[in-house]
Symmetry: C2
Subunit: 409 residues, 2 copies
DNA sequence: CTAGTTTGTTTTCCGCCTTTACGAATAGAG
DNA sequence: CTCTATTCGTAAAGGCGGAAAACAAACTAG
């Protein structure tokens, strides 16, 4: 068997450096180091950056100069430290610097938002829609128009955009299959790029982006399993702060992990898959309800809050099934946190007890902190925010690339 | 939740560079680049190394000089290429360079071996023993004596040693628990280091080392799940060529992944864990046999080869259980290969069919190549070889560290 | 034997970080 | 208020490492 090459566009998680180290690369890396320090550790003087990164003050000065002329870092005037000595001038990510555009095609809505380098949401837009009745190209046209309006109303440049979609996306930005949208083989990246010229565009699964949002704006945990249900059930794996996609990009398919090997048949042809017990459709069915006209999860939450017995029982059962599957996951990847995200976060009150019980019982051989299982702080807004943050983090983690891209124009 | 720091001694799989890039680091990295090219791509001229790595010929010359004076690379005389032009002189890892020492405490044997920089096994030693009846310190003394003899009979220096143990090992080299040896809290690293002065020592789980041996000497696959059963059932996860250990180093605990949530009670307090269906002890019991005096797995293989019906049925059942658990793993981490290693490799003929069937049925939503499930080529020798290769690869992947360690003496 | 080609080394140059030194700006002591 | 100690940012010199270009060496082809 040959050495497995990473999927293009989806860099391998533990990509070893296989190219020569040059001074250019050294500079690039140190620019990133300084940029990350300034962005992550709040306002910092040059001397503080030097202390934190291990670089000398002289080197930091030079690097900061370059970042300032690139419009990525801004001086916020002198910062009275209270201590003896000349005060340093506080540096921070430039709020007028490049922003990231987040886009989302949801099952019942479109959303867009702009996030600046400081991680602040600067503008949002939202629209309801019913994608099943419309041509995908038409939907994306509308979304592009919303985005254009946002960008027009915002002074700073847009460094890039990302689109969150509830479905399987290939590395080249084609939505292979999004059952809840009724999309198949939709070249979303190409269609959007047409109407958003000059803006680098990425398309990814909504769960993946939601998981990264959680890391960047939520708990900040770098090694987590982010469970996102509703359509399929996906588990985005965060390893050392990076998304783990597997060799072909199919990692995290939790929906068809077997929980009752001889149980109910699943649409996939097998039996007893998690989806049959914890998927939104399965829960609705188990609760004896008809498919609601509106939002399935919201409907379940409403009924559960009202105390409807069959709904409570169905959610309990779903929680236990989720817990069983997640026990396997925890045994296998030993994460620091397990987060219930996406729409299912709203059902946390009823799902978590069963999940916690199961995981605790089945991870007995290793220490397991029940507090490691939590509900997403971002919930449904995770994917759009993550999409916007994706380009923001891209700029922060490789400012040289952004600077040279700007210089090329 | 704070950013999770990696366990000391067990580096985080996706460790981002958090320190400044310096010219020293640059040199270090390029030395490693050249060393890896020379070691992995066979005999290569300087010009070929330059072409392969992207460095200039001049830079390669300088780097190779340094590696040669460090005794890591050797010239093998002119290599007539047959093509026009001056022939290059072939470079290879120096066979007289530092060797790696592999050590193993097995359930019924001790083993040691020396592997040189080319990956060739230069010497081996083996002894039977019954660890249950002996003091761990005594066992390790004997092993150290075997190792010393090996090193004395071998001219080249030993760069380091690694010990493979069938149990849970903490990052500081303490065997926390090895049920099959009857060991608990044995400070193996300290005990061995006492008798092997001057040799850097690592201790790790046998399955982890076996999995890496498979990558370095076997299939070469960089993204694999290496299943190793017998005592507990462990799955070593290889991600991008690196071992994935999880946040606290507990990743890969396959034995307690639930396969029949309401099934037979397990020693861990839960129910239906994989170990209850596919562990060697469970198979022996299911086959209606008594615990054999000798090797459990070898006994099963013998009986299965003879066609004993109950044994065949028990193995079939174990294969199905393994397949169910691995289907979950494949769905979750999307590996390029699944390898059945360790002692269980000898049962492959009877386990694989059931495993293959289950995985195929339960990974239906994604493409899955049945050929990706294989039996280890190294089998029981994997752990020792992996242990020896660990230091060899350490030297190849960071030759500067070895060179400076030698210079310090 | 000559022309052409490839290899390995030497030389020059450039970029980047470090070291060292210096002016600037503050707090605290007298 | 002045002086000193301290810290910050910058500037100049130095060292190191790779890139580019040039050159000698060794081989094939005619």
């Amino acid at each position: 068997m040959e050495r497995t090459d990473p999927v293009p566009g989806h860099p391998h998680p533990a990509d070893p450096v296989r190219r020569p180290a040059s001074q250019a690369g050294m500079r690039r890396q140190n620019l990133a180091l300084v940029m990350a320090a300034v962005a992550d550790a709040g306002p910092l003087s040059r001397a503080a950056v030097a202390g934190r990164t291990g670089l000398t003050r002289a080197a930091v000065s030079s690097l900061v100069d370059e970042l300032m002329t690139a419009g990525l870092v801004a001086e916020r005037g002198p910062a009275p430290s209270g201590r003896v000595g000349r005060p340093g001038s506080a540096l921070g990510p430039d709020p007028a610097g490049p922003a990231g555009l987040g886009l989302e095609v949801g099952v019942r809505h479109l959303a867009a938002c702009l996030v600046d380098l400081t991680g602040t949401v600067r503008a949002t837009a939202r629209a309801d829609h019913a994608p099943q009745d419309r041509d995908p190209a038409d939907v994306l046209r509308q979304l592009a128009d919303m985005a254009q309006e946002l960008m027009d109303s915002h002074p700073s440049p847009t460094a890039g955009a990302a689109l969150a979609v509830p479905g399987l996306v290939t590395p080249d930005g084609v939505v292979a299959h999004a059952p809840n949208l009724g999309w198949r083989q939709v070249p979303a990246a190409a269609l959007l790029a047409e109407r958003l010229p000059g803006v680098p565009l990425t398309v990814d699964n909504e769960a993946n982006l939601g998981a990264q949002a959680e890391r960047w704006l939520g708990t900040g945990c770098a090694d987590a399993v982010h469970v996102s249900a509703e359509a399929g059930i996906g588990a985005a794996l965060l390893v050392g702060g990076r998304l783990f996609r597997g060799v072909r990009g199919f990692a995290g398919e939790l929906g068809h992990v077997p929980v009752h090997p001889d149980g109910e048949p699943c649409a996939c042809g097998s039996r007893g898959c998690l989806e049959r017990y914890a998927g939104a459709a399965a829960v609705v069915r188990a609760a004896g309800l008809r498919e609601p006209a509106g939002d399935r999860v919201a409907d379940l939450a409403r009924r559960a809050a009202r105390g409807e017995e069959p709904v409570l029982a169905a959610l309990e059962r779903a929680g236990v099934a989720l817990g069983t599957a997640l026990a396997g996951v925890v045994n296998l990847v030993d994460p620091a946190a397990v987060v219930l995200g996406g729409a299912y976060a709203e059902l946390g009150d009823w799902l978590l007890p069963g999940m916690r019980r199961e995981i605790r019982a089945r991870v007995a051989v290793r220490p397991w902190d029940p507090g490691a299982l939590t509900v997403s702080a971002l919930g449904r807004r995770g994917p759009v925010l993550g999409a916007a943050m994706l380009t923001v983090r891209g700029v922060i983690e490789d400012p040289a690339r952004y600077a040279s891209a700007v210089a090329a124009r």
